[in-house]
Symmetry: C2
Subunit: 145 residues, 2 copies
């Protein structure tokens, strides 16, 4: 077990929590590798590189929230080996949008990292909810763990 | 680069393709670790252990298809380090259900593995589609890469 590496990965994930809480776009993108591939909650299927690392889109999204964005990490599982690592967890996103709509959404997240120049960088991120197979094809935004 | 390990990971993923094509439930679950955590297309948020490794549910799902289930892997990215590995890709699932409904669905997949007893086992799997943020909250099942 490389406890030190695992602690470093947890710090990366805690930084994301802090970035959402303080709506700090620079901090939110600081750990992404230049060639990051993101599978996000919203379409398209995939975002890559500057689509993910740019702060403009992140800041615009942050600005749609009226206060801090809550990001709870539950049942986090971290594994490291050599210069790679992965982590997966359930996450609860909470907050209030500027239009008054409240969000309380559980999502699944998987994060893949690589150590580059002595620092851990996020090379891949996958965040999602499942969808109902009852013919409605509705995203399952009402689930709880 | 550990090309040999990467080749082994690709073999694991190819086995899944083959399991879907031949609807072989035993092959489909053969590579899962006993404590696997799966974030799947359908609710709930998470499946664990025997919910994933059991063949009964897989076989029942296979039986809802009238022929082979197509599973194309595109833009596969594999990384290995020490005794862990991860892979992510876009996947196209195709086929015809017994009720005549045809499926042609692009999904995102992330797979996390660990070498145990000299063999690679899947400890985590995350498969999803995004959803539309237009107020419909519909799963985006019509996307193409």
């Amino acid at each position: 077990m490389t406890t030190k590496d695992e602690a470093a990965i947890r710090t990366v994930l805690d930084e994301r929590t802090e970035a959402l809480r303080t709506k700090d776009a620079a901090l939110a993108v600081a750990r992404y590798a230049a060639d990051v591939v993101s599978f996000d909650l919203a379409p398209p299927l995939r975002f890559t590189g500057t689509e993910v690392t740019g702060t403009t889109g992140v800041q615009a999204w942050f600005d749609t929230w009226s206060g801090p964005i809550g990001w709870e990490i539950r049942d986090l599982n971290v594994a490291t080996g050599g210069d790679i690592a992965y982590a997966f967890a359930l996450n609860r996103m909470t907050g209030t949008k500027r239009d008054g709509e409240t969000t309380d959404l559980w999502v699944r997240s998987t994060t893949c990292l690589r150590r580059m120049g002595g620092k851990w960088a996020i090379v891949h991120e996958h965040v999602s909810v499942p969808f109902y197979m009852d013919g409605s094809y509705k995203a399952a935004i009402d689930l709880k763990p």
